[in-house]
């Protein structure tokens, strides 16, 4: 409610100043919805942190359909919002068309690269973060078999799977990694029932740690893992709290930091290509009270060591999207 008041207040202020450019930043969520407990929610948290710290307000919209992408972009640009941040790779086409029409507006797109002078493209090294949680999975696993459940079968999700498998194999070269994708259509992001069945299938094949990179489907994966008393690994946001003591860790993709940074930089932001990796805190693993008993000191030390090695460039994790193949996993 207070948030609505802020928006209303800002709108009123805008009306009073009669069109003077206020340069409010704007955030556009993808179809997953603002509170998906994952990717979009992380973006929202970043924006909220910025609003709390600066006392300023921002505009936001949740998309309801594919068709609204360009429309939402143009509306914010016309209204003078600056910068405009988009959470999601699917905005690339719309932004490619819109960016040139508003040369004075700065755009930030997350998870995709759009080559335009007024666009900042933020991509994450998900494979690095997944490598770390893969190491933890291999250390926590008793059976030597761990699982991965992806959402829609796209290269980005395979990048998660590939990094994870490499991490697992680094700790235990004999480990067996079972990787499943939920589907090949966007419905695969919101099918927890299928996520549950996949988890059960993986459990019956011996998996005792399952990593879900599957949006809403992941809710079903984590639920079933908790029901069946095995460990799971969350993704994007910190999902440890969903089932305390049952979620080993979460692969944090600091979308919130990317949004926060973009909002903080404001209309004068540097555009171009931004990589958020382990080196600059873009990805990582979650450690809090909910999973502290599950993470031994030895596990933490090993993961932190690998993290430092990756950050310094000593250890290279193969990126699936660089050559569409994975040395540690067959799809």
């Amino acid at each position: 409610m207070t948030f609505m008041q802020k928006i209303l207040g800002a709108t009123a202020a805008m009306a009073l100043s009669a069109g003077a450019a206020l340069a409010e930043p704007a955030l556009i969520f993808d179809l997953g919805g603002k509170f998906d407990k994952s990717f979009n929610e992380a973006a929202f948290n970043g924006a909220k942190r910025w609003a709390d710290e600066t006392g300023n307000s921002f505009r936001e919209i949740e998309l309801q359909s594919e068709a609204q992408r360009e429309q939402a972009l143009r509306r914010f640009a016309e209204a003078g919002a600056n910068p405009i941040v988009m959470a999601g790779f699917a905005f690339a086409d719309a932004l490619g068309q819109v960016a040139a029409d508003y040369p004075d507006t700065k755009f930030t797109i997350i998870d995709m690269v759009v080559d335009a002078p007024n666009v900042r493209s933020v991509v994450f090294n998900e494979h690095e973060g997944s490598y770390l949680v893969g190491m933890m999975a291999a250390k926590a696993s008793q059976s030597g078999t761990v699982g991965f459940i992806g959402g829609m079968d796209i290269p980005l999700i395979r990048k998660f799977a590939c990094g994870y498998a490499q991490g697992v194999k680094a700790v235990n070269p004999d480990a067996n990694v079972i990787a499943n994708m939920t589907g090949t259509t966007p419905a695969a992001w919101n099918d927890p029932v299928k996520g549950s069945e996949l988890t059960k299938a993986q459990i019956s094949q011996g998996a005792d740690v399952v990593y879900a990179a599957a949006g809403g489907t992941g809710v079903g994966v984590l639920q079933t893992a908790a029901d069946e008393d095995i460990l799971s690994i969350g993704v994007d946001s910190n999902q440890n709290y969903l089932h305390p003591g049952k979620v080993l860790t979460s692969m944090m993709k600091r979308v919130d930091n990317a949004v926060f940074q973009a909002f903080t930089d404001g209309p004068d932001m540097e555009t171009g290509f931004n990589v958020m990796g382990l080196a600059n805190g873009g990805v990582g693993y979650a450690l809090d009270d909910n999973n502290a008993p599950l993470v031994s000191d030895e596990m933490k030390a090993a993961v932190d060591e690998a993290s430092a090695a990756i950050a310094s460039g000593e250890l290279a994790v193969h990126d699936y999207m660089s050559d569409d193949s994975c040395p540690a996993l067959n799809f």
């Binding site: 407990k37 994708m181 099918d191 927890p192 029932v193 069945e197 299938a201």
Partner: protein, 321 residues
Amino acid sequence: MDFLTLIQILDSSVRLATPLLLACLAGLFSERAGIFDIGLEGKMLAAAMFSAATAAITGNVWLGLLAGIGASMFLSIIHGLASITFRGNQLISGVAINFLAAGITVLVAQDWFSQGGRTPQLSGAGRFEGFDLPFADSLGSVPIFGPTYSELVSGHSILVYIAFLAVPATWYVLFRTRFGLRLRAVGENPAAVDTAGVSVVGLRYAAVAICGVLCGIAGAYLATALQAGFVKDMTAGRGFIALAALIFAKWRPWSALWTCLLFGFLQAIALRFQNIDLGVITVPVQLMDALPYILVVVILAGVGGKAIPPRAGGEPYVKER
């Protein structure tokens, strides 16, 4: 493939087939009475959301089930009003119900719980837990039969048993009772039923209401037994697969059971093995996902006997012209 793996796959098939079976029987009642219903998906979705929401608020899953049935019934009545009373196009009404349910579930869930169109996680009495049949433990050691009984037959939620019992019940009601005879007649030749002095409108409303109850159970099963809460669009097309199963089963209850089990089995295989390597060729998982629809097209093309829908299906009944 060893025996235990087979049992696990069959177990998964049963879980996946249950919502299909309930929705398929729901469609069977409705279509046998001459009301085409492509709104099964929407009704299941609404039932899933309201059952999860009520179970979350009250902590009682049975109240949740009732609320789910109520929500599904409400949409059924709307469908009935549009297609029976006002003689509208049944397909359009069904499509509208699907859209309505997709939007309103997220809207209401967001308004009540502010968790982005989800319901809170259910636990304890807010969920249908697995239900062990008698002697499941003691018989578990008997070879072949033991694991089959304790793993496959026992241990499902009570709604699964309701769904399977609904098959003989549907058969009995449709083919052994006066109500069933009239219900089928109303789908084939409503004028004859009307001439006999039986209310066509009343029978069709009754069929649509039964459809609502069964869809309600299906939705509640998804949200409170298989899962522990509602997620937007969580039915993920199961209502449409149920429709495909209905056509494949040629509108017969026992065939519906086998068809839904087959479709559930195909899904379970696809989930367990993903890409199946047959030595010579590799069957991609996408083909397995598409197989139910391919089978329906094959059946509609007339392979293996013709699938003839109820003759008066899709047409509103007009007493006098």
